[in-house]
Amino acid sequence: MTVSADPDKASFKPAMLIYDTRYRSMTIQIFVLIAFIIFVFWLINNTITNLFELGKPIEFRFLSEPASYDINQRLIEYSSRDTHLRASFVGLLNTLVVAALGCITATVLGVFIGIGRLSKNWIVSKIMAVYVEVFRNVPVLLWILLAMAIMIESLPAPKAFRGDTATASMYLSDSVAFTNRGVYIPEPLFNNPIGDISLFGTSSMRFDVSLDLLVILIVFFGGIFTSFKIKKWADRTQNITGVRPTTWYLKALVILVPTLVLLWALGFYLGYAELKGFNFKGGTHLRNSLIALWIALSLYTAAFIAEIVRAGILAVSSGQNEAAASLGLRPGRIMSLVILPQALRVIVPPLISNYLNLTKNSSLAIAVGYMDVTGTLGGITLNQTGRELECILMLMLVYWILSLSISAVMNWYNNSVKLVER
């Protein structure tokens, strides 16, 4: 005899689709799915009808037409004869530049401020608290506009640097000039360069990578890699003999010497900006808009990062600190071996989501005229071609992919530091 918990097939009644919990979830889901599909079709149908009436069917041909606008701050070659797609790509690189710069400075500042807020010194901790509250409670767009206004209004014009009666001067032995047209910094140049390699042929994504830079980076990171090997060797020696060999000069040697030799071989020198005519020539010109956006995003995000760092350090219980001290560790080692590894587990996930916010906030570049991907694809290209739907969808896709990549990094990190529970 078989015992079956299932009800008889014959006893199934349509009412059970609603009253029986076994079937009800199915019923709900099917209804939701049907409603959702109808909703999506309704949207698509409306869109197609509307676009047909406007006479603009969806197509992406405009991307290969000449953009005919200029982008003044760019990493790669671009002229107004290039296509809209190329312009968007230049914009995307500009987004990445300001996001990367912003993340680095915001982290440095944020860690500094977060630790400062935990300082035993009352005045220091209060200053940091005021900083955090002021920057967190005022919109980032206002900070960006304010930074831009400071750049334009309070920095000297290039002509103030001229002549014997110059009212402004360059900093760091005449290498950096802060003017109201932007900041001029020295650019790295080579007497005997190896050249560039072009990637992606003649497509819109083509760009040149400087081989000099590539080689320098490879040698530099090779040096750092070797210094890690030296550290491991020192650890092994210490474990065997109990004496740690002095290695700092070895490490300095493997990092610095090959890099310096390479720089000498390439004939490295700095090209300084010089005042010629009405403006500075030479050097690397960082536009006002880039600097303003960079500074404002860094200062704003630093306030959030400071709170994260503070919370992370406070999350490590004081018993950890005391236990490490009773083992005889020095304060520096307590921080690096005991507190930080535990605090980082708390700090890093929200830190990365703040990087994400910074990247998304960099779209406010459009307010100060920095040509990031919003300014090119979502700004001038959209206005010139009138292809709202295509441009905005592509823009969203770009940011979405950026966000997904950053989230992927976060998930990878989370998995790698997850406590392994037995």
């Binding site: 609603i18 009253y19 009800r24 979830s25 709900i28 889901q29 939701v32 799915l33 959702f36 949207l43 409306n46 869109t47 009808t49 509307n50 676009l51 009436e53 300082s119 035993k120 010194n121 009352w122 005045i123 220091v124 200053i127 509250e133 002021v134 967190r136 409670n137 005022v138 919109p139 980032v140 767009l141 206002l142 506009l145 304010l146 206004a149 209004e153 998304k360 906030n361 779209s363 406010l364 459009i366 307010a367 919003t374 979502g378 959209l382 709202e388 739907l389 905005i392 823009l395 969203m396 940011y399 979405w400 966000s403 997904l404």
Partner: protein, 433 residues
């Protein structure tokens, strides 16, 4: 008998601590001068404060309040202090503060946004403070319907007819659930409300208007602006995003695969793109997605997009709260025989929401701050207005005073919100740490 020379018989009276460790001196020593490094930090930090204050205080207080243009301001500064810079020209605020607060809202109707703000405070009272009289919840319930009437004008009966739609739904739920069970009852209620709004509501409001108009002068969205606009968008988006966020979070946590997938798709899509792209959608695309010929208000479109944006973030925050509850709470609720909605309402949500108060409030704050982005699509929020003011010949080139005023407005509101969340956290704290 004893080889001890001295044995104390009575307890020594407690001595006062040394003067250097109590009072102001002790505090100074502990907090400012405990070590050489600390002394150096104190000196450095105080000189930094002095430096900043020596610039900011004269600028703020040795300032000009009455002038009709920046040039006049500079002339007065030159005449009074002998230099044109280093003195704030608050005259621009004196001249334009009304505009910065209300935008181009008709000046004889300023009482309406002010009443709306006062009513908002009354309506928030019972939500925020448990000491407030409970009857005020009626104001809270009526507020969403009063706000559009006060701000945009028109007849009160339109709002009333929308409200009646909810009443219809409530009545249907009340009677149908007993007869047909929960699911069918809710579906019937939704259809009843939709039926009311599409067919009967318009007839009702027309009849009511012909009997007693109860109407206010209509104000078009174009004249909305200033801090009022920021608050309006912020308040509506905040108010709507919490319930939508809760529903999205529950959908994301649910066992229903399709519901879950739709919710995840929506949340991750919204969170992956910047708000400004959604505002572009509001300003250029939303009309394309809707049936041909429908063209509604730009502010309403912006509010819809900001609400969707805020809801996705709210959903993630609440999901964090839900995830932090131990499984035992869910199992306990099940074992009591509560159904899904009862267990959510009585067991899960009160705890999850309590855990997520700080991130919920910081989402609120960021929504309010993000309302400034509407200036990019051409709405006249304070930042947009400040650019308009600078475009005038009289105030061309004035930056800091306007920025300071706008920053102060936002700071006051956002800072009070963050303080309130800390108060609430303390009040709801039940663990004894």
């Amino acid at each position: 008998m004893s080889e001890h020379a001295f044995v104390r018989k009575e307890i020594v009276p407690e001595q006062t601590p040394p003067l250097s460790s109590i009072g102001i001196v002790g505090w100074l020593k502990a907090n400012l001068f405990s070590s050489w490094l600390n002394v150096a930090l104190t000196l450095l930090a105080s000189s930094f404060i002095l430096y900043v204050l020596s610039g900011v205080l004269p600028w703020t207080f040795q300032s000009i309040w009455h002038a009709s243009s920046l040039t006049e301001c500079r002339e007065i500064a030159m005449a009074t202090w002998g230099k044109t810079h280093g003195h704030a020209c608050w005259a621009v605020i004196n001249d334009r503060w009304v505009q910065l607060l209300f935008g181009f809202y008709p000046s004889h109707l300023y009482w309406r946004p002010i009443v709306a703000l006062l009513l908002l405070i009354v309506a928030l009272g019972p939500v925020l403070f448990s000491e407030a009289p409970r009857n005020l919840f009626y104001v809270t319930a009526a507020y969403p319907f009063l706000l559009p009437w006060l701000m945009w004008g028109g007849s009160l009966w339109v709002s009333v007819s929308v409200l009646l739609g909810f009443l219809v739904a409530y009545i249907v739920i009340k009677y149908m659930v007993e007869i047909f069970g929960q699911l069918l009852g809710v579906i019937a209620a939704v259809f009843a409300a939709l039926f009311w709004w599409t067919f009967l509501g318009a007839i009702f409001s027309e009849i009511a208007i012909s009997v007693l108009p109860l109407s206010l002068e209509t104000v078009t969205s174009r004249s909305f602006g200033g801090f009022m606009l920021a608050l309006l968008i912020g308040v509506v988006a905040i108010g709507c995003s919490l319930p939508i966020g809760i529903i999205l979070a529950l959908a994301r946590q649910s066992d229903l695969l399709i519901v879950k997938a739709i919710s995840i798709g929506f949340i991750e899509f919204i969170r992956g793109v910047p708000l400004i792209t959604l505002l572009f959608v509001a300003s250029t695309l939303l009309n394309i997605f809707l049936p041909p010929g429908s063209d509604f208000d730009i502010i309403l479109r912006v509010i819809i997009m900001v609400t969707l944006f805020a809801s996705a973030y709210m959903a993630e925050v609440i999901r964090g709260g839900l995830a932090s509850l131990p499984r035992g709470q869910y199992e306990g609720a099940d074992s009591l025989g509560l159904d899904y909605w009862q267990s959510q309402r009585l067991i899960i949500m009160p705890q999850a929401l309590k855990v997520s108060i700080p991130p919920i409030v910081s989402t609120f704050i960021s929504v309010l701050k993000d309302t400034t982005l509407v200036s990019i699509i051409g709405l006249m929020d304070p930042l947009g207005l400040s650019q308009g003011i600078r475009a005038n010949a009289e105030w061309q080139g004035i930056y800091w005073e306007l920025f300071a005023f706008i920053a102060l407005l936002f700071f006051v509101v956002c800072y009070s919100m963050s303080r309130y969340s800390m108060y609430l956290e303390r009040k709801l704290q039940t663990d004894h740490l």
